[in-house]
């Protein structure tokens, strides 16, 4: 069997690859938690994470691969309740890449890092044959203040699930560019620092956070349900999707629930903190469209009440989510 695109889609095939190969050999107490970032018992508690970025086009409406590579790792650190501090950046450049374009991207990384309060402290560059593109890997370290315990395993029946804004923007933006469909959809690519910052400052009991990236909300919620051994109940009417993104999905037969985002997150809090958390999130720029989308139940898996009152299982993405004819 060979690798194909679906192994990198963040969906089921990726999960199998994870379990069957990486998990098999790398398995250890820290890695097995399958969090976005590792929690380490160094002198002081730190979060430490990595991600590679391979998006094409490398510059798109609302961002570029450089901005993305900072936001992605910063967000993963934030999701553990950490304050992001340091990044590393590894570049794999394809022969033929325009230096001007590289400079734009590097400048954008630097600007994004500055805004997010992180410092890039180590780097590496390789050049490979190819078609003028580039890949970026970032790793990051964040400090976890005393007393914080945020984890995908913390979710319990009755907890409320908040989503920071509309779904599918990044995915639709990138696919639009590749398929040359004109629209005004911009990637939501953003560092989410403001949301955890305000929640912790105001004493919200944050149980779980997750950025909603590759694989989409469907995948993230299924993982949480699985890890926390609970069910999740959503209401379709409450899930915000920009009408232009919805139109894009209609054209290609895509589902916003399995589409990737790069500046969206979910927060899970006890019922009594939900309204206050929502208000706080809405006061931030990256959370202004925040909504309550559902709650944790005693059940299993993720179930959604549809607009017409039906109910459907929301499963993880299988394979790639390719545009379809039928």
């Amino acid at each position: 069997m060979k690798i194909n695109m679906s192994h990198g889609s963040g969906g089921k095939a990726s999960a199998e690859l994870m379990r069957n190969i990486f998990g098999k050999y790398f398995g250890n107490e820290v890695l097995d938690k399958m969090e976005d970032a590792a929690v380490l018992d160094l002198p002081g508690k730190i979060a430490y994470s990595t991600d590679s970025f391979v998006v094409t086009p490398v510059v798109f409406k609302g961002g570029d691969i450089g901005k993305l590579s900072v936001c992605g790792t910063v967000n993963d650190l934030l999701m553990l309740g950490a304050e992001p501090k340091y990044l590393t950046a590894g570049f794999i450049l394809e022969e033929g890449l325009e230096l001007d374009q590289l400079e734009t991207i590097v400048a954008s990384m630097a600007e994004t890092a500055k805004k997010a309060g992180v410092v890039i402290v180590a780097g590496d560059t390789k050049v490979v044959e190819g078609r003028g593109g580039l890949f970026i890997n970032t790793s990051g370290i964040g400090l976890i203040p005393e007393g914080r315990d945020v984890s995908a395993a913390n979710c319990e029946q009755g907890d409320v699930i908040l989503l920071s804004g509309t779904l599918g923007d990044h995915h639709a933006c990138i696919l639009s560019a590749r398929m040359e469909i004109e629209n005004n959809i911009a990637s939501d690519c953003a560092c989410l620092n403001d949301i955890p910052n305000t929640l912790f400052q105001h004493g919200i009991h944050v149980k779980t956070m997750r950025d909603v990236t590759r694989g989409g909300l469907a995948t993230v919620l299924n993982e949480i349900a699985d890890t926390s051994q609970c069910g999740v109940e959503l209401r379709e009417d409450d899930i915000p999707v920009h009408p232009e993104v919805m139109g894009f999905c209609d054209i290609l037969g895509l589902d916003p629930l399995t589409m990737g985002n790069e500046g969206k997150m979910i927060v899970i809090v006890p019922e009594e903190d939900a309204e206050k958390a929502l208000t706080l999130m809405k006061e931030t720029a990256v959370g202004r469209d925040a909504v309550i989308i559902g709650k944790a139940t005693a059940g299993k898996g993720v179930v959604m009440k549809t607009r017409i009152g039906g109910s459907r299982v929301v499963d993880v993405l299988y394979g790639e989510g390719l545009p379809r004819i039928c």
């Binding site: 639009s176 469909i181 004109e182 629209n183 005004n184 959809i185 009408p243 232009e244 919805m246 139109g247 894009f248 209609d250 054209i251 290609l252 037969g253 379809r324 004819i325 039928c326």
Partner: protein, 72 residues
């Protein structure tokens, strides 16, 4: 997967039209239909396959009235 929603013709140039689906502009072949700018069309695999009746294109047809007319 058929595109369930109709798109609106924004401009026509020869055998092609720009069709707007909720703000998404797609180039569509109109060799199978005779639409005018402003018409709503159903699109499949890059071809407009029908022009929608004007008065009914943008909203759900009044199905329930129709059912009653049919008498089921």
């Amino acid at each position: 997967m058929c595109i369930a929603i109709p798109g609106k013709i924004i401009s026509i140039e020869g055998p092609k039209a720009k069709v707007d689906f909720n703000g998404n502009l797609v180039d569509v072949n109109i060799g199978l239909v005779d639409p005018a700018v402003g018409d709503y069309v159903l699109v499949h695999a890059g071809c407009a396959i029908e022009v929608m009746s004007k008065e009914k294109a943008q909203e759900l047809i009044d199905l329930f009235q129709e059912l009653e007319e049919i008498g089921v």
